[in-house]
């Protein structure tokens, strides 16, 4: 889309109206995944492997089946029966293997069987009647150990073509990219630092556990209600796993209690459908928190080596990174994303990055907010900070000196369009936080972060009512207030008040395919489609006005919610408001609707810069975040309050990842902390207010200039906090989380 087509003056966009679902959510009547029932409903429960790696020798379900309250029991055999789609391949096979184990249990918590019973208690009791004989196998949960020659093989033949010969079979994908000559670049440097960094797996930690209500008949027709970030992928995947036609399964997305990438796939939904088909009754499954932590996707853990060369004036001469990501017992760890994002903020002559996707005996990783990017940024931004410290340079000035700009060839290949990194760095430099004095024991850190952002398949419809109100149907579940943003964008185009627009997250039977709410794509892609659908409706409104006035349609323009005669006909007729056109629409040609569907490709990449102050208690090793400022390019903030919310939420999750959260596995390969008491996410008393600065460098690929804002906010925090803590403690922290024992060990190691 050409820049001069873009709108820059707004009536509704940029205001902060109350969200349309606010009342439902503050009164408790919003319906989330677990909040619905159906007549005749059964309750499902899932039996899970207690072993990290074990061959399933035998499953005997006869005692459970004999229980009088049990109406169905399923195992993997109930998914193999796919009448017209025999043999699943690729990711469908992986997902099936994950939702119900086949020959082997691959991690602690892997589903092996499920029951449906007349009460939740009966279902749980019946699980104890299922007998599973396991042959326990050697396991591995650490990424470096999983790559070692003697590591147990998770699955032979899982590697794709990209993996170089001679690597362990647990290495399943390989990525390498870059440009220039890094060795020559390092030779030009005045200082080269190479260091090793480790991050642990963390969970998205959405407060709502996965929940669904499924109904599937022997006729192959089904209904599914579930909390998901994308119900079309649920529809497609469940249909494939159950062997039914996609269109025969209608999926409705409930209100969703957080996702952050973790609800972009299926876990319990195919199981509930299989139980329902077998029992011929609706089945509801709700996960417990420990099931969420043991068996749904955490993020990948990482082992990384980063080497950067710098001249005395701060110019980076070369950068190189090796990023090994462990993503559980299936391919999918985003080592490629880590590699591609790691150096993306910088204009580098010589850069090379390598990413590994490594399998281990852990749950299948799922996307978590800018998947892969925060780990790489932690390593890279830490090395840059150390270089600045040794060379006596200001960390913002050095980043400005090397910052990517419009026209820069990105480290991962393409040439940047208009981007806003420099603007975030300038805003950071000018922010009072950056020059505020620090108290003894405190340290300040800054870091930059990058995320691609995504477009994706998108379909939106808008229908006008006789009274001039509008209903907008979008297909991307609203995780953080997106219905408000959609209504603002539609109001802007239609010229009717925000309050007159009702936005609905349509089910799969109502719209064509919509990609998941991920990739920071909703405000960008569904927003773009909303604008186009509204413009489509405006075209029809203008046609009706032209017909009424008897003038050519191109002599009618749309202004402030009215059709207005223009050109030679200007002033010939009074402006015709939308509601007057819709009042007559039944007699002037029928209903007026607008529609748009496409796969928009112009999602502008996004950058942010964070400033953090941390205080380290040398006695206990506890770190307190005393001040935090997020500065990020939003392109155009449609509803600034929810943009701020995304920035703040990303920072808070980053603080948890940096300081406290980690998956802890015992020697037996079992997860040691599968409850919130032990997997402790930040609470209100852990955090300060999180200040935000919204930078607006319009994205040329969106009519209003929107860039996605959801994910970039979690990219800088790990590094910014590590830099602050390292400055406060006087010792470089290279492993996350920087929990009190690790800080104490580092302080001790430093003498």
């Amino acid at each position: 889309m050409a820049l001069d087509d873009r709108k820059s003056h707004f009536t509704f966009v940029g205001t902060r109206p109350n969200r349309p679902d606010g009342l439902d959510k503050v009164t408790g009547r919003a319906r989330f995944g677990a909040d619905v029932t159906a007549p005749g409903m059964l309750f499902g429960a899932i039996l899970r492997s207690p072993h990290a790696h074990a061959r399933i020798v035998r499953i005997d379900t006869s005692k459970a089946e004999a229980h009088r309250d049990v109406k169905a029991v399923v195992t993997r055999a109930d998914f193999a029966d796919v009448p017209f789609k025999p043999g699943l391949e690729g990711e469908f096979w992986n997902v099936l293997e994950n939702v119900m184990a086949g020959e082997k249990a691959l991690y602690d918590g892997h589903a092996v069987a499920a029951v449906a019973a007349s009460s939740a208690l009966a279902a749980r009791d019946a699980l104890k009647l299922i007998e599973v004989e396991y042959e326990v196998l050697p396991h591995v949960t650490d990424v470096d150990k999983a790559m070692a020659p003697d590591a147990p093989v998770i699955r032979e033949g899982a590697a794709d073509y990209s993996v170089p010969e001679g690597m362990h079979p647990n290495v399943v994908r390989y990525h390498e990219s870059g440009h220039g000559d890094v060795e020559a670049g390092f030779a030009e440097a005045d200082l080269v630092i190479e260091d090793h960094f480790v991050t642990e797996a963390t969970h998205q930690g959405y407060i709502e556990p996965h929940a669904c209500l499924a109904s599937l008949g022997a006729d192959g027709k089904g209904e599914l209600w579930c909390c998901t970030q994308g119900h079309w992928i649920v529809q497609k995947t469940c249909a494939a796993l159950l062997g039914i036609e996609t269109a025969q399964l209608r999926v409705t997305a409930s209100e969703i209690g957080g996702g952050f990438g973790g609800k972009t796939t299926v876990f319990i939904e195919p199981v509930a459908l299989a139980l329902s088909r077998k029992a011929n009754r609706p089945v509801k499954i709700v996960m417990s928190r420990s099931e969420v932590l043991r068996a749904t996707g955490p993020t990948a853990s990482a082992s990384m080596d980063v080497k950067i060369g710098m001249k005395k004036d701060g110019t980076i001469t070369a950068a190189q990174g090796v990023f090994r990501l462990q993503g559980g017992a299936f391919p999918g760890a985003p080592g490629d994303m880590t590699a591609m994002c790691a150096f993306a903020p910088y204009n580098l002559t010589n850069v090379r990055q390598v990413g590994y996707d490594v399998m281990s005996n852990r749950p299948k990783q799922a996307a978590y907010r800018a998947p892969g990017a925060p780990m790489g940024a932690f390593a890279v931004e830490s090395v840059i900070d150390e270089l600045c410290k040794i060379l006596g340079l200001d960390p913002i000035e050095v980043r400005l000196k090397n910052a990517a700009r419009e026209g820069t060839k990105a480290s991962y290949g393409p040439t940047y369009d208009r981007i806003g990194l420099v603007e975030t760095l300038e805003a950071a430099k000018d922010h009072p936080h950056y020059s505020a004095p620090l108290k003894p024991g405190q340290g300040r850190g800054i870091a930059c972060g990058f995320w691609f952002n995504h477009g994706g398949e998108t379909s939106v419809s808008l229908a006008l009512s006789e009274d001039g109100s509008a209903q907008l149907m979008v297909g991307t579940p609203d995780i953080g207030g997106s219905r408000a943003s959609m209504a603002l964008m539609a109001a802007e185009v239609l010229g009717i008040p925000y309050e007159n627009i009702r936005v609905t997250i349509a089910d799969t039977a109502t719209l064509g395919y919509n990609d998941v709410s991920h990739g920071s794509r909703v405000t960008y892609a569904s927003g773009l489609a909303t604008i186009k659908a509204a413009q489509h409706a405006v075209e029809k409104l203008c046609e009706r006005a032209a017909a009424k006035w008897g003038i050519p349609v191109d002599a009618v323009k749309w202004e402030n919610g009215c059709a207005v005669p223009s050109g030679p006909n200007a002033g010939d007729f009074d402006p015709l408001p939308l509601a007057e056109i819709t009042a007559d629409m039944g007699r002037t040609g029928g209903p007026i609707s607008g529609h748009f569907e496409a796969t928009p490709e112009g999602a502008g990449v996004s950058f942010g810069t964070h400033i953090v102050d941390a205080e380290v208690d040398p006695e206990t090793g506890k770190t307190s975040i005393t001040r935090y400022t997020v500065i990020q390019d939003a392109g155009k903030a449609i509803h600034p309050a929810y943009v701020e919310g995304q920035f703040q939420g990303g920072a808070a999750q980053g603080i948890g990842w940096a300081l406290n959260e980690e998956y802890i596995y015992g020697e037996d390969g079992r997860l040691q902390n599968p409850v919130f008491l032990d997997y402790r996410i930040p609470v209100a008393s852990d955090l300060p207010m999180i200040d935000t600065v919204i930078v607006e460098v319009p994205n040329p690929g969106h009519p209003f200039g929107v860039r996605g804002v959801g994910e970039t906010g979690i990219v800088p925090p790990l590094a910014a906090i590590a830099n602050a803590v390292s400055n406060a403690a006087g010792v470089r922290m290279r492993q996350l989380p920087m929990s009190p024992p690790r800080i104490l060990a580092a302080l001790k190691g430093n003498g």
């Binding site: 902060r16 109350n18 969200r19 679902d21 606010g22 009342l23 959510k25 503050v26 009164t27 408790g28 009547r29 919003a30 319906r31 989330f32 677990a34 909040d35 939740a120 208690l121 998205q204 930690g205 959405y206 407060i207 709502e208 556990p209 209100e255 969703i256 209690g257 957080g258 996702g259 952050f260 709700v286 417990s288 928190r289 995780i479 953080g480 207030g481 509803h639 309050a641 929810y642 701020e644 919310g645 703040q648 939420g649 920072a651 808070a652 999750q653 409850v675 919130f676 008491l677 996410i681 930040p682 609470v683 209100a684 008393s685 852990d686 955090l687 207010m689 999180i690």
Partner: protein
Amino acid sequence: MTKHHVTTTVNGDTVEYLCDARETLLDCLRDKLNLTGAKEGCGTGDCGACSVTLDRRLVCSCLVLGVEAEGKQIETIEGMARGETLHPLQRKFIEHAALQCGVCTPGVLVAAKALLEKNPDPTEEEARYWLAGNLCRCTGYDKIIRAVLDTAAELREAS
């Protein structure tokens, strides 16, 4: 298995249910009384999404047995508004955009109401420590704390 007959008061209404001795108050509110505003985020008393008051005391309803509600006064999120008038906390949460996904919101509101009844003029630190039992993964708590302190100020002015 024999079930227990429980008579209790929820949001001023006398209610009765039959429950298994193992069922929690949260199970009973949600599955027997169809009051699904309280959520189960953890089932172990760590997230506060199931917060209700039991004889005016703030509790995690997942840690209270259904049978323990016998003869008690329970207040849930469903009883917070008076008719069509929202409680000031509910209104301020909407105005401050203090929710994103909203699944923790009922518990946070119930807990915040209990705070303001106990302490009408909390400091930021007091509000943060009181709400430390209510996990929110979306907001970073910033707007939640602002909404609570703003409500407290408004209620003080009104009284």
